[in-house]
Point group: C2
Chain length 401, copies 2
């Protein structure tokens, strides 16, 4: 069997953590498998490197930022390879550029274009464990790039796809994909399996267990992905598959606590709204829940949408600079909001999930300010301080406890 | 003018240090020069990385050690480039492999075979400062290598030679090449110029201002090297040249305080001595001062030699394992010694330097245990606690204060 094992930063935070991860890897190889490993930077290394850059300039260029940050994974991979060798498990580490991770020519958030894993294959064929730095690659000009936060998941899935691996196992600090955050809902259950689509919605809506792009890539190339706990490696964890066979229409509850609601007043409903969303997209702002209220007597309406709280400055800049052009009368940005979502493939089958959801919230005394529905999810926007409570009420309503 | 500027770790130890170095670089470019910069790792970064590896294994492989340590210079170069950009000085950083530093296929102590500075040249021609990671390169197999401690000096000289630079300026935390360590001799003087050969002896004998290989390379390719202070950049410093024109036969006093003397008793003077030194060389031990005492009545003599104190374990291992083969009667290793050397090109002209040296030491009440002379230097071995005192007496004798 050929297996890709990915370890996140919290699984590699100290020499002791690295030893534990290396033991898991060595056991897997001992069992007769070919093993490629993808690693993130240790613990808080990436944040520490960013802090070092910030001491020098608040606006480092993307190129130099990538040069700096890519060291985090490079240090981590060398330490893991050393630990494997110390356990008498032959190992060889590779930077992104050495492992053939080819990306777009952009910095900070490049997409992986292809993987040419010649050297990784050679190492595996020689009976060695290949330890590959996650999160980084090289563009066509020989520049070091990074692929965005959480990108090591994506590296692992892309490498698994290129190697034709039998499975890509993501080791993390939780037991798998839960029905809700176990820090919020004590008895949240770990799904034995979940579909790519459901996982994608969960990831997009704030579940931090897997990075969105990694799930997209896994779905696209039908890579078998398993999420497991580094600290309880014998627990089966969660397997991603094409279809899920489950009794509940709702598979999980996701919660994003860093949400701001933007309300634009007096906007013509047609062309101007489109133009506004184009301007926001151009400046890199992702918008999520969008609600259009009916126009007033004058034919002008109200548009509200949610954004990540850290993007509110950008949004404000775009709105201020476009007010004259778009002719709206004003806007307001409401911080301190949260988005709670129920995700599941069975949701669109008319089984009344939205009604159940609202009823459960109401019984808990919670009145969401906005609600929006999609194929695979229903989201409500509410004040942040009510978010955890809402998740608990919904978990009880959908899972019985 | 095309200039290579090299900054050591102590000149880049903090964000403040980096700012100061970047200002020097930006001013140089502002003056109309093309500027390539070579950087070491910041402050104690290399030692910290080694400590991280040691937490995992006392014997990391050379390959993985190089993977880890090369991050030190990579972080440093990215931070310097960021600071230059923040000063509105266009800059672009390059890892060793990107800068075309090609080395032997060995780890930890590889020699630079050639430099193919295509990308560095392009950057310079585009009016940018090229910031290159010192100490590291790539071998023919695409492996990251390092070139030994202090190797950033060598990178700078090799790059200067490949670029045909007008000057290679080494910025350091002292003012230039001194007649003796200024921490020992208050009024030690800074040489305006010194010959490659003299500098080579000084470097080999413990003066830490420039790395030996860098001086060899500069001599071989006739690279103009200047040593300057980062903290007093307008001071002219020391220039290395083909010949020195100086009034003193002695140019400088070097002191190595980490010396052990090894004495081998009852060794046949001929073949066995050669064999012993071959065995020591094979196990990587450099020996320096060698003294052979006349044989005893039985035709067997005593051989003494000095080694770096940190190599005494290796020496002991070699001696124990070869005692039967070589037939000597025993050996002893004397720790806590120091080697004080007087260096100068005029020394071999029969001007009585050795006599002056011994007289000066004797007047100071110091009796060296061993003395050895060469073309460019005279060294004495004495107990470590007398070393600083010896340097002061010799400085007074040769320089008048």
């Amino acid at each position: 069997m050929l297996i890709v094992m990915k370890f996140g930063g919290s699984s590699l935070a100290s020499a002791g953590h690295i030893r534990r991860a290396a033991q898991l890897i060595a056991e897997q190889r001992q069992a007769g498998d070919q093993v490629a490993v993808v690693v993130s930077a240790q613990g808080d290394t990436t944040d520490e490197l960013i802090a070092k850059a910030m001491e020098i300039t608040k606006t480092p260029s993307g190129r130099e930022r990538d040069m700096l940050l890519s060291c985090g994974e490079q240090m981590s991979m060398a330490l893991v390879a050393m630990q494997l060798e110390a356990l008498e498990c032959p190992a060889v580490s590779f930077c992104g550029w050495q492992a053939g991770i080819r990306t777009e020519a952009r910095h900070g958030d490049a997409r992986i274009l292809k993987v040419e894993p010649r050297r990784v294959k050679q190492a595996l064929e020689a009976g060695k464990v290949a330890v590959v730095a996650g999160f980084q690659g090289m563009d066509e000009n020989g520049e070091i790039t990074t692929i965005g936060r959480g990108g090591s998941d994506t590296t692992a899935v892309a490498l698994a796809s290129a190697l034709g691996a039998d499975v890509c196992r993501i080791y993390t600090d939780v037991k798998g994909v839960y029905s809700a955050d176990p820090r919020v809902v004590d008895r949240a259950l770990v799904h034995r399996e979940i579909s790519y689509d459901e996982m994608l919605e969960m990831a997009a809506l704030g579940a931090q267990v897997l990075h969105c792009r990694a799930v997209e890539l896994a779905r696209e190339h039908q890579v078998k992905v398993e999420v497991r706990s580094t600290f309880d490696p014998n627990f089966c964890g969660t397997e991603l598959g094409v279809e899920s066979t489950h009794p509940h229409p709702v598979r999980g509850l996701a919660c994003d606590e860093q949400v701001a609601m933007v309300t634009v007043l007096g906007l013509d409903s047609g062309k101007e709204t489109c133009r506004l969303f184009t301007l926001l997209a151009d400046s890199g702002v992702s918008i999520d829940v969008i609600i259009r209220s009916p126009g007033t007597a004058k034919g002008r309406g109200v548009v509200s949408f949610s954004v990540s709280e850290e993007e509110r400055e950008k949004v404000s800049t775009v709105l201020k600079s476009s007010q004259r052009e778009l002719g709206f009368s004003g806007f307001l940005i409401q911080n301190g909001m949260a988005k709670v979502s129920a995700v599941g493939a069975g949701m669109s089958d008319g089984c009344g999930v939205a009604a159940n959801m609202l009823r459960a919230l109401q019984e808990g005394g919670i009145e969401p300010q906005y609600i929006t529905t999609g194929e695979l999810r229903i989201s409500v926007i509410l004040p942040r301080e009510q978010a955890k409570d809402a998740v608990r009420h919904l978990h009880k309503a959908f899972f019985g406890y």
